[in-house]
């Protein structure tokens, strides 16, 4: 009894918001962003120059990292595996897409309200948020957990994919939304806009990282980790487990929505394939490779896998699915803790708060 209390006290002291890994991750993000900006500003003749295309690509990676954070928040710290997070990402993307389309030609019907940026920005948060609220409320209230939850989230994103493929939805059918020219009155094609979107995405990752960190060290985060490890026990103690799950699920969906909204202007298109179950499950492998239940692991995983994808699909397109499939198998079998796990083993037994959380992570 005493030891447990002691452990508890020690944990609390270690669960400070500014742990070493948080500082380090923030620092790497900020310095990385600055370096890219400086290198981008160099004259094109310079060997160190980073082209706009690369900046845009990195901006896209940032949005993927944001999405990975969203998945990690609920998978790593709450133990619920969503195979449909691409749906929230895509909903945010579609909200942004509607707004961008409205800049060139007025939209019909109810969509016309998306002409105003504040409305669109609200929609980016509310569309995925509300879906997550309704879906999560239904699911958690009736205690749908584990694999069942994963399967119905997959069915959800599959149903949405079918729905958005229909022309009657007014979302461009299978082509999706495209032909974006202006954002907030500035041309999307301009160099400044590329850099601005890159910085915005980077800042979003940083803010979301801090938000997730704040949540995980808060009481809410501690209850959620407890829920992950022993749901029934937490419920018997008297916590409303469904409320905890719902809160984190909605926050996670909103982060995914923001990621989608930042993704769309940088890529220039949003279509129903973003709802495809394959994309959502790919996100899970980013987190699994990086190391679930560590926030920096999710960021790292998203970056590594997507960089690999960019390089490999260019060099040998046929091999990519072999490698992605192999990653799924090898990571789950050989690296259950992901890269973050390797790093922490390599650093010896010097735990900080995050690794504590990650112990005994099992579905």
């Amino acid at each position: 009894m005493t030891t447990q209390t002691l452990l508890h006290e020690r944990d609390r002291s270690r669960q400070a918001f500014l742990s070493r890994s948080t500082l380090l991750t923030s620092l790497v993000l900020i310095v990385g962003m600055l370096v890219v900006l400086v290198l981008n500003a160099l004259p094109e003749s310079s060997a160190w120059h980073v082209s706009n295309a690369t900046v845009s690509l990195l901006g896209k990676y940032f949005t993927y990292m944001l999405l990975a954070l969203a998945v990690d928040l609920i998978w790593g710290y709450l133990g619920i595996l969503s195979l449909g997070h691409g749906a929230f990402f895509a909903l945010g993307g579609y909200a942004m897409g509607l707004y961008l389309n409205a800049q060139t030609s007025p939209l019909p019907g109810w969509q016309s309200i998306m002409t105003y940026f504040p409305v669109a920005a609200l929609a980016v948060l509310l569309a995925p948020g509300l879906l997550a609220l309704v879906f999560g409320w239904l699911a958690f209230r009736s205690r749908v957990t584990g694999v069942y939850f994963s399967i119905i989230t997959q069915a959800l994103t599959f149903a949405l994919m079918l729905a958005f493929n229909r022309n009657e939805m007014g979302m461009g059918g299978s082509t999706g939304l495209t032909r974006f020219y202006e954002l907030l009155g500035f041309s999307l094609a301009s160099e400044g806009m590329t850099v601005a979107l890159f910085v915005a995405s980077g800042m979003a990752v940083l803010l979301a990282f801090w938000l997730c960190r704040a949540i995980t060290v808060s009481r809410l985060g501690r209850v959620s980790v407890a829920t992950r490890d022993a749901e029934a026990r937490v419920r018997f103690i008297g916590y409303r487990v469904d409320h905890v799950k719902l809160a984190l699920f909605v926050v996670s969906a909103m982060i995914a929505g923001v990621a989608g909204a930042l993704y769309v202007p940088q890529v220039g298109i949003i279509n129903p394939s973003t709802f495809a179950p394959l994309f959502s499950i790919e996100v899970v492998v980013w987190v699994a490779l990086g190391g679930r239940a560590t926030l920096y692991g999710a960021l790292l995983g998203a970056l590594v896998v997507n960089y690999l994808k960019t390089v490999l699909t260019g060099v040998m397109p046929d091999a990519w699915l072999f490698i992605l499939g192999g990653l799924f198998v090898l990571v789950t079998m050989l690296l259950p803790q992901g890269i973050a796990g390797v790093i922490s083993t390599w650093r010896g037994k010097r735990h900080d708060g995050e690794e504590q959380d990650r112990q005994e992570v099992s579905a």
Binding site: L81, L138, A139, R141, S142, R143, V144, G146, V147, Y148, S150, I151, I152, Q154, A155, L156, F158, A159, L162, A163, N165, R166, P277, I281, V284, V285, A288, D318, L321, F322, L324, G325, G326, L327, F328, V329, V331, T332, M333, P336, S362, A363
Partner: protein, 544 residues
């Protein structure tokens, strides 16, 4: 003949009578053919055909009628050729030809009167007699009544069916005469319908009784304008039409039910393997769809190895698909799943990775293109029960196959040693091991069994759709929903869930379209699972 046999009784007499009769028949046949040949000389034939060489379609029709009423032997062939637009006349000459093949530029032709080979002709040398729609209808009627007077029962029945709606003032009397002479009950019934339809058009109210409950589209189409009027006849026709419509509606419902069950049987076949691996073993196998695909590719490969024998290939593919997919399943279980025991989410991810690898493997080894598996003859076509209801044979076969597979699997789980061991391991692994059940072997075999059944689903699917690398992908979400909807660990639940989802989908489709129907079913199942996480048939006791 039978009468004679009975009346004589004695063998010798019978034999004698036989030979006499045969001789008589032969003599009569000879004389008939001789008189026919004598009746129409070549000159007369020429005159008959010459009458067709006119611009007026009315005159052409009369000429065709004259041909039909003549004694010329070749009349059926002439009329058929005329109907097909292949009867023609030499442009600079007096000969008549039948074009045997008008697909190319040079047509092989035969003489229309002697049917002797006449070399080739072209558009320039042979002028084909043109016909219009009215004339076509008329010729069809003529041909029908021609074949009514000759041929066996099947061809007479076909002719009688063609006559429905084609009876006109021209041929009504002859059809009536033929109906009275007709011996076959079914042909007579069909002729009655044809005549009744004509009589109704002439205003005969009693004839409507014959048409009551007839499902023929032509009857409905003819009655619809008649029912539009205000007379007593119209009111009566209205009631007959109403009866026909409600009968059709019932058959339509039966048809929808059949399509639903057929779609459902595919779902059940795809899901039943999962019901074993996921439901019984608790292993999430996301590569299940790819095992289905492997079964389908096995069918395709066996068919490539046995060209021209799709029936044999299919028969071999059933055990083949089972074994190949089952072998893949055993390998997957041995190399991956065994190490992830008790970690369902990790199993899910690893098997998903396997599914990607298998898909890409098929793309690299075969090709990303779809392959076509030809169905054997006895699976092609449809079983036409009546005008409103026809069951596609391959779908019917898949439905039966599904039931057989289900029954086999159920019996296996219920009555065999393996089934007993599987149930024991599922219920209490430790206790089962203590009793001497080799749990790891049971795991391997169970997973192999589930995978083999997926292979069987692939064999069945190859008869319905093209075989491609993405074949299985489309079934994975559906299959899981079926298993969860039916209640995990419950084979009966899977059967009921799959069939009902198939039927619901088919019932919704005409109202909202295929895609929306699918969405509604998906959302419906999602909501149902929220309400009843244990599915339709909740497992008893504390197993959940």
């Amino acid at each position: 003949m039978t009468k004679i046999q009975h009346s004589t009784g004695r063998f010798l007499t019978r034999l004698l009578m036989h030979s006499v009769l045969l001789c008589l028949l032969m003599a009569w046949g000879l004389s008939v053919s001789q008189t026919a040949a004598a009746a129409v000389s070549d000159a007369q034939s020429r005159a008959l055909l010459e009458a067709l060489d006119t611009r007026s379609f009315q005159a052409k029709g009369d000429a065709a009628q004259a041909i039909a009423e003549s004694d010329a032997e070749q009349k059926t062939r002439w009329l058929q050729a005329l109907l097909d637009g292949r009867l023609g006349k030499e442009r600079r000459g007096e000969r008549f030809y039948i074009v045997t093949d008008d697909s190319g530029r040079e047509w092989p032709i035969i003489d229309a009167i002697t049917f002797e080979d006449a070399g080739t002709g072209t558009r320039r040398t042979v002028e084909v007699f043109k016909i219009n729609n009215d004339l076509r209808t008329r010729i069809q009627g003529l041909l029908a009544s021609l074949s009514l007077s000759a041929g066996n029962e099947t061809s007479r029945l076909a002719a009688a069916e063609r006559l429905v709606g084609e009876v006109t003032a021209d041929n009504a009397d002859s059809v009536r005469a033929m109906r009275d002479d007709e011996e076959s009950q079914s042909v007579r019934g069909q002729l009655d319908v044809a005549l009744a339809l004509y009589d109704v058009q002439q205003g005969d109210i009693d004839a409507l009784e014959t048409l009551r409950g007839n499902l023929d589209t032509r009857v409905r189409n003819t009655l619809t304008p008649i029912a539009a009027g205000d007379s007593e006849l119209a009111a009566e026709a209205q009631s007959v039409l109403g009866g026909i419509e409600s009968k059709r509606a019932w058959y339509d419902r039966a048809q929808t039910l059949f399509f639903g069950l057929s779609a459902g049987s595919i779902l059940v076949l795809a899901a039943i393997g999962l019901a074993i691996t996921f439901g019984v073993m608790g292993v999430i196998n996301m590569a299940h769809g790819e095992l289905i695909m492997i079964g389908a590719y096995t069918t395709w490969m066996i068919q490539q190895a046995l060209p021209g024998q799709p029936g044999l290939a299919l028969a071999l593919a059933i055990p083949g698909g089972f074994l190949v997919a089952g072998a893949f399943g055993v390998v997957i279980e041995r190399t991956v799943i065994r190490f992830l025991k008790g970690r369902p989410l990790e199993t899910l991810l690893a098997t998903f990775g396997l599914s990607l690898i298998l898909q890409q493997l098929v793309r690299s080894v075969f090709s990303p293109l779809n392959r076509r598996v030809t169905s054997p003859d006895w699976l092609q076509g449809a079983w036409q029960i009546n005008e409103a209801l026809s069951l596609t044979l391959n779908r019917l076969a898949v439905l039966l196959f599904c039931l057989v597979v289900f029954a086999g699997l159920w019996a296996l789980m219920r009555y065999t040693r393996l089934g007993l061991e599987v149930r024991a391991v599922t219920q209490n692994r430790a206790m089962a091991r203590a009793m001497g059940v080799r749990a790891t072997r049971v795991d391997m075999l169970t997973f192999g069994l589930g995978a083999g059944v997926a292979g069987l689903a692939g064999v069945a699917l190859s008869q319905l759709t093209n075989v491609g690398p993405n074949l299985g992908q489309g079934y994975i979400v559906d299959s899981f929903l079926v298993v969860v909807f039916g209640g995990v660990g419950n084979l009966w639940g899977t059967l009921v869930a799959g069939m009902s989802l198939g039927v619901i989908n088919q019932v919704l489709q005409p109202w909202v379209g295929a895609v929306l129907a699918k969405i509604i079913v998906l959302v419906g199942v999602i909501l149902f699972i929220q309400k009843r996480p244990q599915g339709i048939f909740a497992p008893k006791g504390r197993t959940s």
